[in-house]
Symmetry: C2
Subunit: 84 residues, 2 copies
């Protein structure tokens, strides 16, 4: 399972759109605070694999491709731990 404390140190890029508190900086982006961790991991892995097109995938695919499995677990754990 991911480590939310480690994840907090890995979300600098994410936070530009999703906020460091998981509240998106614009309505076109999803809020992530309190989101289900399993869903967040699967979504990031789908972006990383190039499976998720449309929407903001031109941004998310390369971002996710810079992440290891451990990074994904940590980041998902961090955002999932926040209160919406």
């Amino acid at each position: 399972a991911g480590d939310p404390a480690a994840g907090e140190g890995k979300v600098a890029a994410c936070a530009a759109c999703h906020g460091s508190d998981g509240n998106a900086t614009a309505p076109i982006y999803p809020n992530l605070a309190g989101q289900n961790v399993a869903y967040l991991e699967n979504a990031l892995k789908a972006y990383r694999a190039g499976e998720r097109g449309g929407g903001m995938s031109m941004m998310m695919t390369p971002q996710a491709q810079s992440l290891s499995d451990e990074d994904i677990a940590d980041i998902a754990a961090y955002y999932g731990s926040l209160t919406p």
Copy 2:
């Protein structure tokens, strides 16, 4: 813009996984309560266009393909109106 009241009458299928209150019925599904409406619309349209693979897209693509633009706007407005 979508009509949340109309959307409430269109989420019977969505609710099986995302809950009628926007709280997912299992951690593999995303919570939708209070999610940003523009994001929800774009995500549904990407599924409908077959652009979003991976994750639960085998379920979401056909579901979204049954929705009109108005349905998508209403459903997004409904879930976005709920408190997380």
